[in-house]
Amino acid sequence: MLKRVHFGPSWLPFALVAPQIIITLVFFMWPAAQAMFQSFLVEDAFGLKTEFVWFDNFIELFDDEIYLKTFSRTAYFSFLVAFSSLSIALILAGMADRIIKGATFYRTMLIWPYAVAPVLAGALWVFMFNPSLGIITYALDMMGYDWNHKLNGGQAMSLVVMAATWKQISYNFLFFLAAMQSIPKSLIEAAAIDGAGPARRFWTIIFPLITPTTFFLLVVNIVYAFFDTFGIIHAVTEGGPANATTILVYKVYNDGFIGLDLGGSAAQSVVLMAIVIIITVIQFRYIEKKVDY
């Protein structure tokens, strides 16, 4: 942690950490403490009286059918996004790993969506699926399939999943490819000499060896689907139709800023915080494991 050779005591280190610590205190610690405090309060309709209610907000939250549904919907959404973006990225990385000529070009062509903001990814996809104008809507219509994600909840969900997956493929691809390229070539060659074909080599050597990366990516993808997809949902469906695409983060925003239910929104924030803490702990335990190997 500390260098064996270091500078003597002075006021300087305090000045050096001050900017970071002040920002952390003012914009992170204080608001987080506020969220926790507010989650124990109930404000009356006119904002005149606040009452300390202990865990009532939480009890109400977990009694609320709509909130519980949002919870399971978020889990479903995250599973779909993580599963589809991981499997597509795995296929592409598996192929790219076998290529020598043109590998850099292919990589460039596959990684750029990482740079696209979620809300823009939403704009791209919602334009293609626009119920009256979209090019895909038109193509589907020719095939006799009626697309309108503004009315059909299932279609709305698949649209946000597609947009969220599209954006995340490049990230997963990069990490999968890096993991595959760090596998010693001699291992693959030995298997090839023993007569294992490409598919067999993939499933019996490459895939098991990249398990740590897969696990790491799984965690990252779940965090992504939970928190970073707000822009996509806001742009594409606004949580609708009839809440069909409202996930937890969207609900915190909606209840707090649109519905102005401060206590309820704060309680939801605290639940989200707990989720982030659990995920971070899992992630760090895994990283420690990786160091042990």
Binding site: P31, P118, L133
Partner: protein
Amino acid sequence: MIEKRPISTFFTHLVIIIGIIIIAFPVWITFVASTHDAIRMTQSPIPIWPGDQFWVNLKDTLWSGISESDTRPISRMLMNSFIMAMVIALGKIIISLLSAFAIVYFRFPFRMGFFWMIFLTLMLPVEVRILPTFEVVANLGLLNSYAGLTLPLIASATATFMFRQVFLTVPDELLEAARIDGAGPMRFFFDILLPISRTNIAALFVILFIYGWNQYLWPLLITNDQAMVTVVMGIKEMLESAEQAPVWNRIMMTTLLAMIPPVIVVVSMQKMFVKGLTETEK
């Protein structure tokens, strides 16, 4: 590839090329939309080949907004986005370099306390503390300002960790030598540590610039002044207004303009980007 099998080689390339086409398709449609006039873009089926209105649309969108009713020039939004991205990226790098330097090279009271406090910010993304953070910023009078847009996002645990890691690998002899030559702490920081961490700074900059440029929820909450709108958040309103005034050619032109700067950064600094991505995640 290990064995020479033309069919399997062909198949490999084919799968990747199909992947690339599918991934690029939404952007192609967007690009095509930005090259036609507004009327053509209201007739289904919309075109899939480019027209000749690209430069006209580009000029109009940049300088006179997307329509008669929405005349905010996109150039202004692009500038706001650029300022926000630069301040966030540079700010994060500067304060993280300084705090990592303090934590690694000084012994002082509460050192580990500060370290853990910075660590905790990892667990508090904007999304989980939106309302109270908004109140803090409002009480400080920072709504609709560049300071309000950037300051709350500038603390960075990942950047601090990365620089800490880099500094820990710097040989102790360097500090001893610098001391013998009479260099004070700040001199050592500027003349030795900064040059050593150059590539890490560049790699981090790429990641943080994209992070800053792509901020959405935060600007959405704290700006309602039209002069402070960033291009990424501007898109949302345009998508809404498309119900009444379908100027898809210019809306999609704006989408294109909003995604081009970070994409250029990723593609042109690909090596740095990959390095930054894999190192900050460790």
